[in-house]
Structure formats: C-alpha cells, structure tokens
Amino acid sequence: MSELRWHPLLREWVITATHRQERTFLPPADHCPLCPTKPGGFPTEVPEPTYEIVSFDNRFPSLHREPPKPAVEGSELCPVRRAEGVCEVVLYTPRHHGTLTDMPVDHIEKLIYVWTDRFEQLSKLDFVKYVFIFENKGKVIGVTLEHPHGQIYAYPFIPPRIERELESALIHHRERGSCLFCDLLRFELDDGRRVVAANESFLAVVPFYARFPYEVHITPKRHLGALTDLSAEEKRHLAELLKVVLLKYDNLWGISMPYMMVMHPRPSDGHEYEHFHFHIEFYPPHRTKDKLKYLAGSESGAGTFINDTLAEEKAEELRQAPPVTDETGSLIEPLREL
C-alpha cells in the first residue's frame, strides 16, 4: 500500500509505503540485483550483460507513476492522496564493489550529466513539483544494497525542508535585496575558517550552522537554480570538487565514510524561484571515527540539532585530510588524477 497522509501538526505530507518492508536487504555480491545480468545468471534489475550508467524505476518505490488507491480514506482534518511521483535508482557503475569516492573524475563528470538529464526529464512530468537527487552511503545510514548507487525522488509536492529554504531565501531577498546563498558564500570566503575546498566554480564549507559535525555544503559561486543551469566547465569543476571532498572524508580516518548526499535545486513546478540557489549538502553521521551522532530527542522531537563540535575545528580537520587544502580551499598539491 502506498499513499500520502497529511500531518496537520507539521503541515506536511508523510509517505506510507508498506511494500517497502519486503525490499531486498544486503544480499551477497553474487546475488546483487544492481549488477548486470550475467549470461545464464539470475535476472537482475539490469537485463543487459553490461552498462555504463543506468537509472531505473525502483522495484519498491515510495511514489508511483500510476499510484494505487490509498489504504484508508482521508478526512478534512487528515487528507490522504495517492502517492504519485517517481522513484528512480541510479547505478553509478556496473562494478559491484567501490564507492563514488573511488571513481575517476571523468566518471563523476559523466554521472553529473546523467543527474542533469534525469532532473530535466523528470521535471517535465506535470505531476512532479520537486526532483530530489540523493545518495545514502553506508550501513549505518540504512543502506540495503552495497552496489554503488544513488536515488531520485520526483515528489508531487515541494518537500518541507525545501519550502523552508525557499521561504528563508525570499525573506532575505525582500529585506536585503540580495541572494541569501550568495551572501553566505561571501561570508564564508571572507572568514575562511570553515572552508574545506574550493575551485573556480564551487565552494565547499562546513557551514557556520552545521548540524552534523562533518556536514559539508557545496555551493556554486555563480547564482543558479539547478544542475541544468551549469555550464560544461562548471559541471567539470563540480566533478573535481566532489572528488576532493569525498577523498577528504575517506582519508579523515581511513574508513569509507558513510554519508547522506542531497541535492537542493529549485522546484520544478513551473515557477521561477530566482531567489533560490542550487547547492549540495553532505550529512556524515560520524562524530568521531568510532561514534555516531544520533538524531535523538532534541533533534527528532523538537527539531533542534545539537552539534557537539565546532564547525571551524572540523573544517580544519577536513582541510588537513588528503588532498590537503588551505583556508582558501585551494589544493596544496595538485591532485594526481586531475
């Protein structure tokens, strides 16, 4: 069963998707449903014997192109809607082992082009209001399939987190006549203490208001709303900066750093949103090598995060993690692969 239930206290939709309880859970490598289908082997999600990058409709989607009837009837107080939308799984590589961090910059660049095309194509669907590209990495995040992959949710509404960011950006623009994100970029560049990495087109920082100890935001220096607005050069620069940030995460403690990577573009509902500014956010759950930050009472019950660390100190740690960068975000030594 799958439906949207309105949460009247928070004024947002909750997706129920009961069939997801049965989704594939950490299968062995030789039964990976995301690997190509070997000749004579069991059929995977990809019928071809090989592929480069693939995106497919999730077998256990939270949202459906042709949604089923809701399990319950809603009411005026608690409306219910069909869970219309699209859920895709993006397979980064046909190789089972490895992570986005291991991939060459050239491949990450190709993935950015795929993400861009998916964003563009899904945005055209008239029932889609927001295209959300993300990656959950690591068992501690709750990943159920190890094969390197990400997901795309094309929602029939603007999600609450994005609504809040839009509202903040609009208020700031009305009060100051400038883009909130552009002003934050200048704030961080002028300060320098929270800069992790940067290049000609993008800045990566542990934000002043980080909620996770090693949270990183990647923001384009040019004011733009979505991946589709990036030039070819900017896409290349994004691939290079992603590689640097991902390497730093893994080199911090010599572990494959779990994280949630989320992209925040403008909505796809046909309105302009000129005051919004595309950015990417990383939420690694680790607060030390061996300890996790949990979303406990204050975070989950009151919506107020408690960060046990200082953003400036965590940014310095990340700058010192290879490839080493300075307070302008520049690489101390060129990245060999680049």
């Binding site: 019928p47 480069e52 497919f56 409709d57 660049e109 082009y113 795929v114």
Partner: protein
C-alpha cells in the same frame, strides 16, 4: 522528443569536447522503465554522424 516517445531509440542527449552521451529508454517486463546512458569518444561519434551511420548500440 520526450523520453516516453523515444522508447528503445538511442538519443544523443549531451556532448562535451571529449565525449557524446546517449540515452536509451526501455520498459522492463513488469512495466518499469530503465534508462541506459552510454558515452562515446566525440571524434568517433562525429565521424559516425557525418557518415550518417546508425547510432551505436548501448
């Protein structure tokens, strides 16, 4: 041409100075869509196009 209309066809959807990106949409037995992205060296792709050869399989 939209994705929906182009099922099974290989479409050239992006290009850099190094490669061309193609997209092919298929429908699986259970009705779910799968989209294959492939990449070809730009010189090879341009040569094929100028000779009006069939697009590569993906």
């Amino acid at each position: 041409m939209s994705e929906n209309e182009a099922k099974g066809k290989v479409e050239r959807v992006a290009r850099t100075d190094r490669w061309v990106m193609y997209r092919r949409c298929e429908v699986k037995e259970d009705g779910r869509r799968i989209i294959y992205y492939s990449f070809e060296d730009v010189k090879k792709a341009d040569t094929k196009q100028s000779l009006d050869l069939e697009e590569p399989g993906v």
